[in-house]
């Protein structure tokens, strides 16, 4: 009986050590195929003034190096903890601002940004790009006036 129990415990320990989930996602930086994109910093928001007919919000940020990022994603929401929709993809990593004028009406707007890198930068494929951590502007959001 003791021998059987010993055998069971050994099999259990070996199976626990041997088994595990593979990091099979090619975009997983743990695989060593790709580096994690850097956090976008220096994000600032500004908007059109009072009484402007074509209302807009401008986002500025500090551009990253080419080896740190191949572009940026910008997200927008009308509530701080709401759902953030991706409003654009900036494919130029040296670009440092974007003007959002799509369906802007008076009210509060909240933005997030992230950078991305291609799995194979020499042959960019939108289905094979890794998005980095999301970052918010220094201020929680911006109020677009009437």
């Amino acid at each position: 009986m003791k021998n059987i129990l010993k055998l069971i415990v050994i099999v259990f320990v070996i199976s626990m050590i041997a088994c595990g989930l593979d990091r099979s996602n090619p975009l997983d930086p743990e695989n060593g195929n790709i580096d994690t994109p850097k956090l976008v910093t220096g994000i600032e928001l500004s908007c059109s003034g009072q009484g402007a007919i074509n209302k807009f919000v401008t986002i500025n940020w500090e551009p990253l190096q080419f080896n740190e990022s191949n572009g940026y994603f910008i997200y927008r929401s009308q509530s701080y903890d709401g759902t953030y929709d991706r409003i654009t993809v900036v494919r130029d990593n040296q670009q440092s601002s974007y003007t959002d004028s799509d369906k802007i009406i008076p009210g509060a707007y909240f933005y997030k940004m992230s950078s991305f890198v291609y799995l194979n930068p020499a042959n960019p494929n939108d289905n094979e790009r890794l998005e980095g951590p999301l970052n918010r502007p220094g201020e929680p959001g911006i109020m677009v006036p009437q």
Partner: protein, 196 residues
């Protein structure tokens, strides 16, 4: 001619001697003496014969009621506790069956959750989503492995115990048959039962 007569007489003597040996070895009185087996008289002998017949009948009953170890182990291998039910060890059967269902169910539940998270991980392209889903998948996978390993241990012990319990059951069955062979009247939940 004298020599041949002597040899002839010797051969005849030897033949008579050797033919007498088996007759001396077989003692008819001793053979038919019932005291040799501890019987004082023929009624003892009849009692013994009756006892032998009863034992043979009990043996037939035993062979019908006794359970094969391989049969109960096969049942226990399919469903933990099933083998114990077949040898009327209901409390152990309940324990193994309930434990098996809980452990296997929990193991499969966590394994299914881990596969859902793992699928999300494989399809994710955002670093936080990748890490979050992988961590959850791994956590659920490890939990499922703990439950499934515990199930494997329970299953193995259930097999071992079904073998041991079947041996005990068969031993107790013979003792019960021997003890109850004269008990034609027994008290059952339905009342008195008289067997003829």
């Amino acid at each position: 001619m004298k020599i041949s007569t002597k040899y002839f007489a010797l051969i005849i003597c030897l033949m008579i001697t050797f033919l007498q040996l088996p007759a001396q070895g077989f003692d008819l009185n001793k053979f038919s003496n019932p005291k040799k087996y501890g019987w004082e008289d023929y009624s003892d002998r009849n009692e013994y014969r009756q006892d032998l017949i009863e034992r043979q009948e009990l043996l037939q009953l035993y062979e019908i009621k006794a359970k094969s170890i391989s049969y109960t182990m096969a049942k226990s291998a399919i469903f933990p506790g099933w083998g114990h039910y077949s040898i009327e060890s209901y409390s152990k059967g309940h324990t193994f069956l309930t434990g098996g269902v809980i452990l296997a169910g929990a193991g499969l539940y966590f394994y299914s959750r881990s596969q859902d998270y793992y699928k999300n991980y494989k399809n994710a392209s955002q670093i936080d989503v990748i890490n979050s889903n992988y961590d959850k998948a791994e956590q659920n996978y490890n939990t499922s492995m703990i439950f499934l390993a515990a199930y494997a241990i329970l299953w193995s012990y259930n097999l071992y115990d079904s073998s041991e319990s079947t041996e005990k059951y068969n031993a107790n069955l013979w003792e019960d048959l021997m003890n109850n062979r004269f008990d034609n009247i027994s008290l059952t939940p339905g009342g008195l039962e008289v067997r003829f």
